[in-house]
């Protein structure tokens, strides 16, 4: 099938303003949008810049706005969009070039939530035991690949990149509800700050954008409830 792909272009060395360029390509309906971008870069215009790494939905490098909503280009199939596809960078982060954005504010927020295991008890001889039920409690939020599709779909994050954003809260949730971890109180204090969970207005864009199908708004809701009740039950 013939596909028209319209791509957001911005080269800071040449362009004063961003613009769009359109390319005609021959594609299979089962091609991925990433394949189209590779074809453009390989055969039409080698200056096109975008991030990609594993190309299999694991590394989270190629989050972008495809036909208006955030997707991973390596998981978005052409037949889901039709013959006209528009590709733009994710919103709320500074565009460096074409589809590449500055991810630093996103990772700053990630680091703020102490996304690592905290337990000062001496390590046991074998493993720190955890029941299947306790593991299940935070299973969903272990799946995050830090692609930023959720955070950059959130209107509260568009308003201010000081807001922790859905991804950082998901990663906090992963440790707050881990029965082996002892840093829940510290993290809940961070969640309770002015740019914490209270900035979530349950828009659900994050849940719809997540390529790993994490129930993000539910995870944020659980953190909100833990703050309200003071209990992790």
């Amino acid at each position: 099938m013939q596909v028209t792909i319209k791509v957001f272009r911005y080269n800071p060395e040449k362009d004063k303003k961003p613009h769009y360029e359109t390319y005609q390509l021959e594609a299979d309906p089962t091609d991925r949008v990433l394949d189209l971008l590779e074809k453009v870069k390989g055969y039409k215009d080698g200056t096109l810049s975008f991030r990609r790494s594993c190309a299999h939905g694991v590394c989270g490098s190629d989050a972008m706005r495809i036909n208006g909503s955030n997707k991973l280009a390596c998981k978005a199939l052409v037949h889901d969009f039709g013959a006209k596809i528009t590709v733009e960078p994710i919103l709320g982060l500074r565009v460096i070039k074409d589809l590449i954005v500055d991810m630093e504010p996103f990772f700053d927020n990630f680091r703020k939530v102490l996304p690592y295991f905290i337990n000062d008890d001496p390590a046991p001889e074998k493993e720190r035991y955890q029941s299947q039920e306790d593991r299940e409690r935070f299973d969903d939020t272990t799946k995050c690949i830090l692609c930023a599709a959720c955070t950059t779909s959130c209107p509260s994050f568009w308003a201010s990149d000081e807001y922790l954003g859905p991804s950082a809260i998901v990663n906090a949730h992963r440790f707050i509800f881990d029965s082996r971890d002892q840093g829940a109180a510290q993290r809940l204090k961070i969640m309770n700050e002015i740019m914490g969970v209270s900035r979530c207005h349950t828009v659900f864009n994050c849940t719809l954008a997540c390529p790993r199908e994490i129930q993000i708004t539910k995870a944020i809701g659980e953190v909100k409830k833990a703050l309200m009740t003071g209990s992790l039950e």
Binding site: P18, G68, S69
Partner: protein, 128 residues
């Protein structure tokens, strides 16, 4: 080098967030409209009572018109029902898995009540 991070209103509104995003936008618009309505109401009362000004009557005429009533009832009712949905989901996060169904229920509750109110307003307006 590079562009600023600013997200324009146009960019935000162009984001394809489907049903939940629409309710979020309507919640904001209806909230602001209610504030405007209450402010106008207080202003009209103040001008009429304090200064017997015709400006108060003029403002009253605007918000007592049937078109404005249809608009403000939309805002008040939608804001209330959508707010209830958000409160329920915030208090019982387990229900968030059914957020799509919650939005359908919200519209199913909203549309008949609003339709009935619009019917009554228009019937009254036509009756003079």
């Amino acid at each position: 080098m590079g562009l600023k991070r600013n997200v324009s209103l146009k960019d935000g509104l162009r984001y394809q967030g489907k049903g939940p995003m629409l309710t979020y936008i309507l919640h904001r618009i209806s909230g602001l409209s209610i504030v405007l309505f209450v402010a106008l109401h207080i202003l009209a009362a103040f001008l009429s009572q304090q200064y017997s000004s015709s400006a108060g009557t003029f403002i009253n005429d605007i918000y007592e018109s049937w078109i404005f009533q249809i608009y403000i009832i939309f805002c008040g009712l939608f804001h209330a029902i959508n707010g209830l949905r958000i409160v329920i989901l915030d208090l019982w996060p387990k229900l968030i898995e059914y957020q799509n169904e919650a939005i359908w229920i919200e519209w199913l509750v909203f549309l008949p009540i609003y339709g009935m109110a619009v019917f009554v307003i228009i019937r009254t307006a036509l009756a003079g």
